[in-house]
Symmetry: C2
Subunit: 323 residues, 2 copies
């Protein structure tokens, strides 16, 4: 949540001039994105462009060679009618430009706000939109390996070390064995697509029960659709006390299956995949926790939130996802 | 530059419902304000309201008892045609509301971007608009004492201590004596108005050479108009190498005097007032510097920038502002 780079009005105006979007009218640095700087930009607009945009500057974590995939996927899905922002290309057709040695992209602004406590109807719409995205990605010409797969999660937890994990919480070292079991799961035989892989409520814009935007595709990759669904389920279906909300979880699945029916193999594996998805957030949060000094101004996310969700899926087992 | 408080979509929608502005469409936390949290809000709008707003939550430094002055001044100046954002009042007519124990206000959104390297024509427009504001404030019914006056600056520097100041830069302890001289200046006999008192380029929105907004009135107070002009001059007239830009400084003064001619007493005191204005930023930056750990993520502003400007005004003397 930060703007890492200061861009002056003159620099922004010069950048905007490379796009057919009219003149700069307003620019506000916005507090979104953990590895990017973002500005909400307003221009006088052009016939083809609209007049509001998100300008993203890629600060870290993003490989430049991945940008054509991320931005191309947005354009592909948007053209297919999915509620994702399209990339605005510059006058030479480029999807991103370099500025002060960093890549920047101009992306369509979409209305909507992110729900904090999703209702079942909102979850149903999100499930439906996730399936829509999976199906629409079928003829996308590019692919990208998942860099946050179950094997990587295991490696992250092992690198934290059992002592390091125990220093956060005595229950955490046991997650290494759980992550080893998840890493042994074979997902490549399940139906594949381009997946969002990080569809938390923060990354969904809604107006009432309507999804107006899926955003922040910077973990998107080629992978099992069931992994995306399980990740979304783990991210959406727990209330502010971290208790499972069955109405929300069920509606999410039903919404998804309105467009795409799960195979029996996917359904059978969903509990184990959901446990693996929980461990991804345990791993990344534990790593961040150990990397962040106790007295830093940054709020650390508690890895135990997803340990608790792992236990929920472990206990609930197959009956949770039974059709 | 931060959003200190998280407000969920549901909380924001409930807050917005207290105003006649339509339904919430979008909300982005913006990276502006050092003592407030701010959101750029879009709604479906109403006949009287427009559809974009800045929602400000007052986090610290602001006294609640000062809010009627700050917000009332915005409304007064806006009604007089000054380019300042008006306050949107709630359905009961209140200019601010309390949320989670903090005051929040909904303020008109204005277009424009803040210049980083102002041109003379931009400075002329800012000078003109500052005079417009001073004249328009004449019949405003409220007043507020300056809490950052020359006496307070001296107290801040004395509290830093000569050793503390020397730890930042060996030249800084000498500013205590300079601040003592400034504190002895008598400004109360000069023409008074409601003044902005912090009109840095950051706090001015422009489209080309037109001022579209003066914002961030949270240092506004009753005081000498010459103090506001000198502060603005010290904030605008130096280039990126901290060298005086005579064309910008002259244009600012000329623009001001197109609307309001300085008295001979004001003109004679301007160099000393400008030196005092510089010391205000030396004092606040030195205090922040000593309060901020060396390894904090926050960028500290260098007090020496305004020590250098103090020397400029000291050396230039009366001839700088001679008519």
């Amino acid at each position: 949540m930060a703007v890492y780079t200061h861009l002056g009005a003159e620099e922004l105006a010069a950048l905007i001039a490379h796009y057919d979007v009219g003149e700069l009218v307003s620019a506000k640095g916005i507090a979104e994105g953990v590895s990017n700087s973002n500005w909400l930009i307003e221009t006088t607009g052009s016939a083809s462009s609209g007049d509001r945009f998100i300008l993203t500057m890629y600060e870290r974590r993003i490989e430049l060679t991945d940008l054509p995939y991320f931005l191309g996927l947005l354009d592909h899905l948007s053209a297919k009618g999915c509620p994702v922002p399209r990339t605005i290309h510059d006058r030479n057709g480029a999807a991103f430009r370099m500025l002060d040695g960093k890549a920047v992209a101009l992306i369509e602004f979409l209305p909507g706000v992110s729900p904090t406590q999703p209702t079942p109807e909102q979850a149903r719409a999100v499930g439906w939109t996730l399936a829509q995205m999976h199906l629409a990605s079928g003829d996308f010409g590019m692919g990208r390996a998942n860099t946050m797969g179950f094997g990587e999660n295991l490696a992250v937890l092992e690198a934290c070390g059992k002592a390091g994990l125990a220093s956060i919480n005595p229950e955490l070292p046991a997650t290494v064995d759980a992550a080893r079991a998840a890493a042994a799961l074979e997902l490549s035989a399940l139906p594949q697509a381009q997946i969002h892989a990080d569809l938390f409520p923060d990354n969904v814009l809604m107006l009432g029960d309507q999804v107006t935007g899926m955003i922040d595709f910077y973990f998107a990759c080629t992978g099992a659709m069931a992994l995306d669904l399980a990740t979304t389920h783990a991210a959406w279906s727990f209330d502010s006390n971290n208790a499972y909300d069955a109405a929300v979880g069920t509606a999410l699945l039903e919404g998804y299956e309105e467009l795409r029916t799960l195979s029996s193999e996917e359904r059978a594996l969903l509990p184990e995949i959901a446990k693996g998805a929980c461990l991804r957030f345990v791993a990344s949060r534990a790593e961040d926790w150990l990397d962040t000094p106790d007295d830093a101004l940054v709020t650390r996310k508690d890895p135990m939130q997803f340990v608790s969700r792992w236990h929920f899926y472990d206990k609930a087992g197959a009956k949770l996802f039974a059709s």
